[in-house]
Symmetry: C2
DNA sequence: CTTTCAAAGTAGACAGCGTCAACTGTTCTG
DNA sequence: CAGAACAGTTGACGCTGTCTACTTTGAAAG
């Protein structure tokens, strides 16, 4: 039975892996269950034993991306200094987006499968968000100059900014914009400085 | 001849309008030239007289979105006060994204048709970006007490943040996050405050 | 006014897709 | 050992994009 479960898990796993690679090569819109089956070497119906339909497979792929993303965010060394750790979190976020544009796009760029229909995928997405939010909560707990500071609000702000930076930096339109590379290289550190300054500031009531 | 050119322009125009509405109803992945033809009331091949293929139609739709976006950004009254105008630009940006989520998604969310292949679309996108960047550059030029301040860098920061806020605010995952609506209502003003604070701050060398 | 000719629209065909139904074989269970 | 659960195969259906070949049309040229 061990053999069987291994075998079945293999096809399932293979499909997910192959799906991601197809998306990378031919784009999301050209992902087809039949092509997956062909590459894995099974009949065109075999994947349906493991995924209800195309969207279920896609949800699984996206879920894996969130897993990898969360893992990446977690596997950093923490210094204990909240400011430092926050910066490192931001760096990790951007680095992942830039180094894994395909996966990042799948998670945030394209129109996802409806999260309501895929609770497993949704949970993984929420987990990734929770990492960011918890980190900021800690930051404010340690750095309690701002008593009334609402970590959720700032988590949202930081998250949005990181996401915006990541998206804009690798937007296909950007490559064609009249922006010098040297300026582009400064853009990210500059934005990080701005965010740091923003979070330090006392806000008016 | 006027009549003819009107007529043909009508089918072309009708296709674009219908395409957008199909995307709104059934999603981008369910946009089909055949359905467009059906709704417009012509044979399944008629649209091919006006669009080489599905992607060309889509590029045209996206181009129109950029046009509308540019127009929206332009039609604001300026007060002359840089800080005020900057805030108003930010608001205009976010407002468009929130009021026209479908169009905004098409421009920035989904995987676009390859810009290299559709120079007309690309040009419109660059024009919209130029508006944004020019306004920001001007505002910062008028604004910055900081000597070495590079307006381009701040423009980039603000643009990315606005884009991030817009995207995250209407991301489907957001609706399912454990965030109360009241908090969500505060999120945007809070982020704007943070951005304002960020831009006011003196940055370390 | 008639001819002509390109553009616009129609009709049919083809392969590829997602997915349903029915079948075969293999493996675990009672 | 019987049989049920499950993985995989085959075939079919209607949908899609797009090719080719046809017909209509309406403006311009003679």
């Amino acid at each position: 039975m061990a053999k069987k479960s291994t075998k079945t898990r293999n096809l399932r796993e293979d499909c997910i892996v192959e799906a991601l690679s197809i998306i990378g090569e031919d784009g999301l819109e050209n992902l087809s269950l039949r092509e997956v089956a062909r590459r894995v070497g099974v009949s065109h119906q075999a994947p349906y034993k493991h995924f209800e339909n195309r969207e279920h497979l896609l949800a699984e792929v996206v879920g894996r991306c969130f897993d990898a993303f969360s893992k990446h965010l977690h596997t950093r060394k923490l210094t204990g200094d909240p400011t430092e750790d926050l910066a490192s979190l931001g760096n990790a976020y951007i680095r992942y987006a830039l180094n894994h544009p395909l996966e990042y796009r799948l998670m945030f760029g394209t129109s996802l499968p409806d999260p309501d229909k895929y609770p497993a995928m949704l949970e993984k997405a929420q987990y990734a968000y929770a990492i960011l939010r918890d980190m900021l909560t800690q930051l404010f707990a340690a750095n309690s100059r701002q008593k009334g500071a609402d970590a959720d609000l700032d988590a949202f702000f930081v998250w949005a900014t990181m996401h915006g930076l990541a998206t804009v930096l690798k937007s296909p339109s950007l490559a064609t914009l009249p922006v010098t590379p040297s300026k582009l290289g400064k853009a990210l550190p500059h934005a990080f400085q701005r965010v740091r300054a923003a979070l330090k500031a006392d806000l008016p009531a």
